[in-house]
């Protein structure tokens, strides 16, 4: 009995060790947390939080298990053709940030959101994908193959809503996630 129990423990341990790699949506969400931490600890200025607008994520070819696996670029709001002021984060397999680089560029004061900052709102929209991706085939491509997220405002109903627009590298579909201004999920839609 003891032997069986120990073998079970070992098997579980190995499974856990192998299951540590994370998906693109989770990496993007963890990058949002890192940006928040960097601003809170005053390592970077508040514009990276308050003017945050767009996130791109790429999968990197790893030279070794310690090298970066994900490259996440967080861009600030910018309506010009110039490249936006941004932060580039490199994350490992587990989503731990290995380092960041700041890139100068255009930055404008973005839309006024409310009590929640745009990084938190993007994080909340990613929670929808992380929660529902494993059980919803349509959403799953945005879990595994997420390539970008943009935060937009939608006032078509007369009420200010958050619209997160997500793309993936698997097909041309777009996932739109609506949240209220407090960051609570309202609905989603997948379009071509």
């Amino acid at each position: 009995m003891k032997k069986t129990f120990l073998i079970t423990l070992m098997t579980l341990f190995l499974n856990v060790a192998m299951a540590e790699d994370i998906n693109m949506a989770r990496a993007a969400e963890l990058a949002c947390h890192r940006i928040e931490r960097l601003v809170t600890l005053r390592k970077i200025d508040e514009s990276y939080l308050n003017n945050f607008s767009h996130l791109k994520i790429e999968l990197l070819t790893q030279e070794n298990p310690e090298s970066p696996r994900f490259k996440v670029t967080g861009e600030q709001y910018n309506s010009t053709a110039e490249s936006a002021k941004s932060i580039i984060l490199n994350l490992n397999n587990e989503g731990k940030t290995l380092g960041h680089i700041l890139s100068d560029g255009a930055s404008e004061v973005g839309p006024v959101w409310g009590t929640k900052d745009p990084v938190t709102l993007m994080e909340n929209s990613l929670h929808f994908v992380i929660e529902n991706g494993p059980s919803n085939n349509e959403v799953s491509h945005f879990l595994v193959d997420l390539s970008s997220v943009s935060l937009l405002q939608d006032q078509t109903t007369g009420q200010k809503l958050v619209k997160a627009k997500m793309t993936n590298s698997f097909d041309n579909k777009i996932l739109l996630v609506w949240l209220n201004i407090e960051g609570e999920f309202i609905r989603y839609e997948i379009t071509q």
Partner: protein, 301 residues
Amino acid sequence: MKNIIFVISFFYHLQIYAGPSWYPIPNEAYQLNNLYPEAQRLLFAFDYGHGLVYERLLNQRGKITDPEKFEKELLKSVIAILKNPPQVKMDEDDIAPNYVYAFPLTVNLFDWSHLLHQYVLDVLASSLDRGQKMSDRIQEIFRQYQANEIIAITDVCKTMLFMDGHYFSKKFRRTYPSFNLLIWSYHWFQIRLYDALILPTKVERDLAVKKTIKDFWELISDLPDSADFDMMPETFKVAPLFSNTYPAIAASFDNNHMLHDIVSDLLTSDNISYNKMKIEAIRIGRMALDPEAFKSNNCVR
């Protein structure tokens, strides 16, 4: 008339302050203290530290003009307690009477959950059988915990939005980042101990507990930079062995830890009145009990 008022106030007082009691106390209770006193004393110190910070936040609510200074003073007080931790569990009523009065439901949830946490650690630390008997004993203790359903935090996984999805969320970690990372280091230590103590041989457990204590001190050695957490540590990641063996208990503790952060946010949110804060604490406490509130579809089990 005086007698009636006295009787009513006596029972009202009891209802608020009487913490939950586990009866009969497990035979293994506080074996962790006998086998790993340094780890046990740190756990006592965490309880003390939590009580202290909650009480100070409550007493200074709306009056803190220099949060950085306040945080530094708080850290100094609590680090001193960690360096010279109590040898017995401190009574929270003595450390934090106003907090205990203002948050009766969450205090009861924490007390009950901490007893489960303590007894599970005691069994893991002391069980001579490292197989099925130990596992059965832990499940038996867990069933006793669950049987007190009015104060047993649910073992259904919740999403992180339980912690971060409210209008007052993140207030504490943004106002007091170093102290928040200290609390997340407590959480890390509490759950890492599971994986240290679940190991099959005494030699392995001794080494793992020693390393866990050493790593904890490193985590808090140069706050905030030394504690490199972007998010609250979760059991499936910090203690994967325990989490996979006892997933329901792991989920229950993660929910407990999220509830601690929510209480910190409520106490830090100056724009919520005292009465509203008390009402919100009850509402959130009920969510902690409710398996459907913020239920995760994607539980790591």
